[in-house]
């Protein structure tokens, strides 16, 4: 349905987006994951036709949209990271204005406004000025404004930044419903791993303007399939114990945590008995032991050497 081919964008000689290839199939929910400055927003701006690429192409059903952006704009809803609303207008007035300039027919605009306000749960506050809303409520109106023309593709750029948990859950639920019930194709960018894990069928991981990994969640997790992650709670920790464990066969990494240590070892290697013995020798008690399922966060850490919030 929508794809980018070797998409690159330079700003003053610096590559913000570097030969990015991504695609979205109809009805999919795709995540674009990466830390701040990874190039997610620039990629989205190019896909949305707000920026021209330095090279490469964006194709909608096989046709380039670079020279003819009107085509994609008709079927695209964009929820920008910023609150792109008139603060001095009410939620209703904002939606009416954007609905009118999206050329939604007069006789159905009122109904659409009612629908989108219901979707984002702000029907009761529609007559209030946007500037009186909380951050979470503003973000919900921001989403509503992108839904007025029933877009086939919805791009959301970090829609949950800086909001309360209640609004965040509401937004995530809204996006999930749009994808599952209305079959809207979703491109969701975030640096919250759990959101992407919860919402998306496929994920692209970006860093330094490049896509460094992609695939379904299980495909990405298989990158870490050769390793086990073990969380160990100890009565206390000591440097001698950590050094001892590091010297075990098959142990690749030992990190100190708040409650004990985290061990990354070769998959299937049994280090438990050796660990307990070593701890006893040091006079330390093993209080809890858990094999952890790797997360996308672990995948990201493995690929980039840093966490998403770095």
């Amino acid at each position: 349905m929508l794809e980018t081919i070797n998409l690159s964008k330079n700003f003053k000689g610096k590559k913000a987006v570097d030969e990015v290839d991504i695609y979205l199939d109809e009805g999919e929910s795709v995540g674009l994951l990466g830390p701040n400055g990874a190039g997610k927003s620039t990629t989205i701006s190019i896909i949305s036709s707000l920026l021209k690429p330095s090279s490469g192409d964006v194709k909608l059903d096989g046709k380039s949209i670079i020279k003819n952006p009107a085509e994609i704009r008709k079927i695209l809803g964009v929820v920008p990271q910023e609150i792109a609303l008139y603060e001095e207008l009410t939620a209703y007035e904002n939606l009416k204005f954007f609905g009118e300039i999206y050329k939604v027919k007069k006789n159905i605009l009122e109904e659409r406004i009612r629908d989108v306000l219901e979707i984002v749960g702000l029907k009761e506050r529609q007559k209030d000025l946007v500037k009186t809303f909380s951050g979470g409520m503003k973000r919900r109106v921001n989403i509503a404004a992108a839904l007025l023309h029933h877009p086939k593709i919805l791009i959301l750029d970090e829609p949950t930044v800086g909001i309360d948990p209640q609004s965040r859950n509401h937004i995530l639920e809204t996006v999930r419903k749009l994808n599952e019930e209305q079959e809207t194709t979703i491109l969701y960018t975030s640096h919250y791993m759990e959101e992407v894990e919860q919402l998306c069928n496929r994920v692209y991981i970006m860093d330094h303007g490049k896509v460094i990994a992609s695939g379904s969640k299980s495909e990405l997790l298989s990158i870490l399939s050769s390793e086990d992650t073990i969380q160990v709670q100890l009565s206390e920790t000591s440097d001698q114990l950590i050094e001892k464990i590091k010297s075990f066969d098959h142990v690749r990494q030992v990190d100190e945590t708040d409650e004990g240590i985290r061990i990354i070892s070769k998959k299937g290697s049994n280090i438990l008995s050796g660990l307990v013995l070593a701890a006893e020798k040091e006079g330390i008690q093993v209080t809890h032991y858990q094999m952890e399922t790797p997360s996308l966060e672990d995948v990201f850490l493995h690929l980039t050497g840093k966490t998403l919030r770095d």
Binding site: P69, V78, I83, L85, Y86, F97
Partner: protein, 419 residues
Amino acid sequence: MGSFLKKDLLVFWRDRKEILLSLLLPIVIILLLNFAFSGLFDEGAESMDIDVAIVQQDNESIGLEQFEVRVNELDFPPAEKEALLTQATQISPVRLINEFFNDPEMKEWVSAQELGKEKATGLVEEGELDALITIPVGFTESVLSSILLGEETEKNLTINVKEESNEAGALQDMVTNYVNTLNFQFALGTAAEAPAPEPELPEGGREVVEGAQVYTMTQYFTVAIAALFCLFIASTVAMKTVTEKREHVFNRIILTNSKPFNYLMGKIISTFFMAWIQLLITFTVTQLLLDVFSGMSFDFWLGTFVVITAFSIAVSGLTAIFTPITLRLSDPNAANGIFTLIVMGMGMLGGSFFPIDFLPDWVQRIGEWTPNGLTQGTLLEWIQYGSFVDLILPIILLMGFFIACLIIGMFLFPRRERI
């Protein structure tokens, strides 16, 4: 386009601080200027009342006889002597002085009465009179010799006051001004060898054109300040684009496939309405508070309404240029600085800060081509002459200014990549 217009008007309306500034500031400034300058111009001047005594010591017929003797002593051809004597009988300096003080307009300022020297001196001493003007013995002969024979004036009018005051100063200025005018006009008449023209009275601070009414300083301030502040509306509306750009609303608008022309026309038409409303309110409120255009006819108000409408359209043309500039410049302060410079420059050249009559001709000519200068000049002429025909050309020029701005604005409007 209607959606953009509605939105722009609503956004402006909700910005109460901006609304109050735009609508009230010109009125406040007009009121302040009016109070600050009222003492120097019309109303204050009219309230000035000077009581003066004229002491007539000269005998006009003796003066004429003495002048005749003097002329006959000269080595002139008889025909020339005859002409000089004829002119002398026509001039009559004492009569001119009396006419000057008895002119109806002068009587609004000065109450003059002929008195003997002793009585007049006594009244001045007692403070009953502001001044005493003496027409000395030999005045007629001296003035005629000065005007017609080019000799030094030996006898001058003398003004005696008990103490210096605004009234005495004003009287002195008036008499000096009158005598200078008298001398100048007779000198012109003599140089051209034509019959001496009747001297005109000096008008003291008012420009008088034949067949025209005068405009007051209050009217001038009202027209000039209203025109200046109206220009600022263009800048205010254009700067709203900066907010739209900063808050990414403009990107959302682009994504709706809206035409730049519609966006721009929304700004232009909203500027027109705001400028128009501002001007109407300024003229109406100042009229109600100060009676600026006292006793003007329905035709006057109709013509003023037409000029105000044309000027508002011209101001909206400025928005057509300012808006794309805000979109092109990444620094909003730079955009604001440019607009302020343009508006203040137009205000200065167009005479919105002060009358520009004293500036070089070429500067005045440029000023007449600014929309505010053109409007100001047109309205002030409209006050004086009230001729509808005189409004046609300025209105065409204001419309031309709007169309030119619109074309430039469309040309300047940035393409997608530059926003």
